[in-house]
């Protein structure tokens, strides 16, 4: 027997990520009460292929939920609701009668569908479905991954067409299992995760029948698209009876956790790569500058809130490259020490186009450069150039967002591991000419899922209450004069130009 609501004073968030699953329990003020985390195996069957074992992930999720409850010394009676956030686009198909995955999950990084995506573009190219879905045809997204599985797992298409197979991104997989699996588990996804499948129409928020047909995906495998914050069902197992009340893709969850509820508010998560999302309000803004259009979140029956997304492939990983490949520093934190030994970049610029240029250029023929070298340049200058590369790439995405949306950024909310780099954060404020703000809770992704779940069950009454939980732990204000900023940006753009056309056999894609 399930109950609609209990007196619980906590919200549990399950963060099913690319390398690990975590459960974080939050109190009403948004502070973390307990965390449990377990990594899962990364399976690399051949170069470019990345898989996860769906059964292992579900075991890990159950284990971290129990672990977090134990660490917090709480029981299911203390938990008012559960929220889910997840690695986006990772695709799993399973048998609805046995609950067994029919194949390992294809992870978002997996590039096996590249050729298929080219083929699906036909004579139109990678923007064939952009108007409907906001996305270019690229190997990240779930739709082509489903198609690959249906084409490559023996007999799967027949089983799918007979209605025996279910598809999910990791949110759907976790929710289906959490709410009972073969014994009445609910098969749902939320609008943010659905917006990364390339199968959902952004305007109607329904599966797009024409795209399903073009992609060769039977509608019978698809979950029901629901809002990001509503009670989908109730848990079984250790959290029996607790409402499962939110789902958000990880970057959208971070946008929500950073309380970017107003049009024009943006967050940037600085990790190995960087994801910048701008709230564009109730309007899905088409991008002509290489950004993705996506759903930011939808609360219950309210209107959906859209976002523009710009991703930067190489940010923290450039620091890692500096450490591991060049050996100039021994820890990531030392980059700041080294950069502080000099006043500026000494004329050197590093553009880390390791696998081409991403937003806003999308040039696969580009490769990285270090330019402006003279006898004067030291490793300290190069360390500066490493940090400045992240700042300028942020500026380029922010500029593209301003062009597409007409919205000028007033402040940037940041999170992620690189926010401990004081010089970098100052540098970003300087090149954006806008303040950079870091909130107290570093775990904005899990917090976003908790917030959405708490809203759905009335644990928090409204968005204003959540906003009141957001507190500034640090703020960097611009200190660079305009002439320097303009000169440096010009130099950066010149350096970017020098990366292009390096790979000759490859034609630049649109």
């Amino acid at each position: 027997m399930t109950t609609l609501s209990n007196g619980g004073q906590y919200i549990a968030a399950i963060d099913q990520g690319t390398t690990s699953s975590r459960c974080i329990i939050f109190g009403a003020d948004g502070r973390i009460v307990a965390v449990d985390q377990q990594e899962h195996s990364q399976i690399f069957p051949q170069p470019g292929w990345v898989e996860h074992d769906g059964a292992e992930i579900w075991t890990r999720v159950q284990s971290v939920v129990a672990g977090a409850l134990e660490k917090a010394d709480l029981t299911k009676a203390d938990i008012r609701a559960i929220g889910i956030t997840n690695q986006r686009e990772t695709t799993i198909l399973w048998d609805r009668h046995t609950g067994e995955p029919v194949h390992n999950a294809l992870v978002w990084q997996d590039t096996r569908t590249e050729a298929l995506c080219k083929e699906l573009g036909r004579n139109v190219g990678q923007d064939r479905f952009r108007r409907e879905t906001g996305l270019p045809l690229a190997s990240y997204f779930a739709g082509p991954k489903i198609r690959w599985l249906l084409d490559n797992v023996d007999g799967l298409r027949e089983r799918a067409e007979a209605g025996d197979i279910l598809f999910g991104t990791m949110d759907s997989w976790v929710i289906w299992n959490l709410t009972g699996g073969v014994n009445g588990g609910v098969h749902v996804t939320d609008v943010t995760n659905a917006s990364r499948t390339m199968l959902m129409n952004l305007a109607t928020l329904e599966w797009d029948a024409k795209i399903l047909e073009s992609m060769g995906v039977p509608a019978s495998v698809l979950p029901e698209i629901r809002s990001s914050a509503e009670v989908y069902g109730h848990a079984v197992g250790v959290l029996e009876g607790v409402p499962v009340a939110s789902a958000l893709g990880d970057q959208q969850a971070a946008l929500f956790g950073q309380t970017c509820f107003d049009k024009g508010e943006a967050k940037s998560t600085y990790g190995t790569g960087t994801f910048l999302l701008l709230n564009t309000g109730e309007k899905a803004v088409n991008s002509y500058h290489g950004l993705l259009t996506t759903v930011g979140y939808r609360i219950g029956n309210e209107k959906p809130v859209y976002a523009l997304e710009g991703s930067i492939a190489v940010t923290g990983s450039l620091v890692q490259w500096f450490r591991d490949q060049l050996g100039i520093i021994s820890t990531a934190a030392e980059i700041e020490t080294l950069a502080n030994t000099v006043q500026d970049n000494g004329g050197a610029y590093i553009v880390p186009a390791f696998s081409g240029l991403f937003a806003p250029y999308w040039r696969s023929d580009a490769r990285g450069v270090i330019t402006g070298l003279t006898r004067y340049v030291t490793k300290g200058h190069l360390a500066r150039a490493v940090l400045e590369a992240t700042a300028w790439q942020t500026r380029e995405v922010v500029d593209a967002m301003a062009k597409d949306s007409g919205v000028t950024l007033t402040a940037l909310k940041v999170d992620g591991g690189m926010t401990s780099n004081n010089l970098l954060m100052q540098n970003i404020a300087d090149v954006l000419d806008a303040p950079v703000e870091r909130p107290f809770v570093a775990e904005t992704t899990a917090l976003g899922a908790a917030y959405a779940a708490g809203l759905a069950v009335g644990f928090w009454p409204d968005l204003d209450t959540l906003r009141a939980n957001w507190h500034r732990a640090a703020e960097w204000t611009p200190r660079m004069d305009e002439a320097t900023r303009d000169r440096e940006y010009k130099n950066w753009l010149k350096a970017v130009e020098r990366t292009m056309g390096w790979i000759e056999e490859d034609q630049p894609s649109a």
């Binding site: 004081n422 107290f440 500034r472 640090a474 703020e475």
Partner: protein, 254 residues
């Protein structure tokens, strides 16, 4: 003045021998090369092994230089590493106490602020990373004076300045305050640098229990103190944060 200590000379000779050509040497090779009795060489090697300066290969029983020697050369903790490790705990301390949090390290003859977390009330505050605070009149400085002899040495060269009527400038009085800080494990500075401001600090140690820095909360004396003394619950919060950061730096539980 006493003469050189023979066992230390021998230990140094063993280290030089192990650092030379052959990477691994057995006990008999060491004792023969240096003309030492086996028992003597063994005793010295075992002591060096306990300190981590020498390692013994479990299979061959041969000796080689230990990892600790490498660490000796780079024992200096990067302040940005310190900030990265302390971030979560400093945030939590600010949220729990409702006050500003600073992390400081000894730099020249003062305290360099390497991390600053705003007081969580969303008022306008300016990031003070990179600024300096005095040693003798702040909670951070007192912790460093109490635990780092290099810091205390700076006071002899740079006589303490008086900022308020409560600033301690007499070296004997400062040493007494340092002894108290060591004994109770935390420091306090109430209106000793700035009128109206009180702070509470505690020591951050690395894995060898060396002092690497200090963490403090700082705020209005009306909130931080009660009846003229700092509030015990705030002291507990600061000490817990210092212990958590030290643990993250590899210090043993204490």
């Amino acid at each position: 003045m006493p003469g050189p200590i023979q066992s230390l000379e021998r230990a140094a000779a063993i280290l030089r021998l192990l650092a030379g050509g052959e990477r691994r040497l057995g006990l008999s090779e060491v004792s023969a090369s240096l003309g030492l009795a086996k028992g003597t060489a063994h005793g010295i090697l075992r002591t060096l092994q306990q300190e981590g300066f020498v390692e013994q290969d479990p299979e061959s029983g041969k000796y080689q230089l230990g990892a600790e020697l490498l660490r000796l050369g780079q024992s200096y903790l990067d302040v940005h590493e310190l900030r990265a490790r302390a971030l979560v705990w400093a945030d939590d301390l600010a949220r729990a106490s409702g006050e500003t949090v600073y992390l400081g390290v000894l730099h020249q003859h003062g305290v360099l602020i390497v991390h600053h977390v705003f007081r969580p009330d969303d008022s306008r505050q300016v990031l003070e990373v990179g600024s300096m605070q005095p040693l003798h009149s702040t909670a951070l400085g007192k912790v460093l004076l109490a635990h780092d002899p290099v810091a205390r040495g700076e006071l002899d060269d740079y006589p303490p300045e008086s900022f308020t009527s409560r600033t301690l400038v007499d070296l004997a009085a400062i040493d007494e305050e340092c002894a108290l800080t060591r004994e109770r494990g935390w420091s306090a500075a109430v209106e000793e640098t700035w009128a109206g401001v009180a702070s509470i600090g505690a020591l951050i140690q690395d894995r060898r229990r060396n002092p690497v820095g200090a963490v403090c909360i700082s705020g209005a004396v009306e909130r931080v103190c009660e009846a003229g003394v700092v509030r015990p619950e705030l002291v507990v919060a600061v000490r817990e944060a210092a212990r958590a950061i030290s643990r993250d730096l590899g210090a043993a539980r204490f």
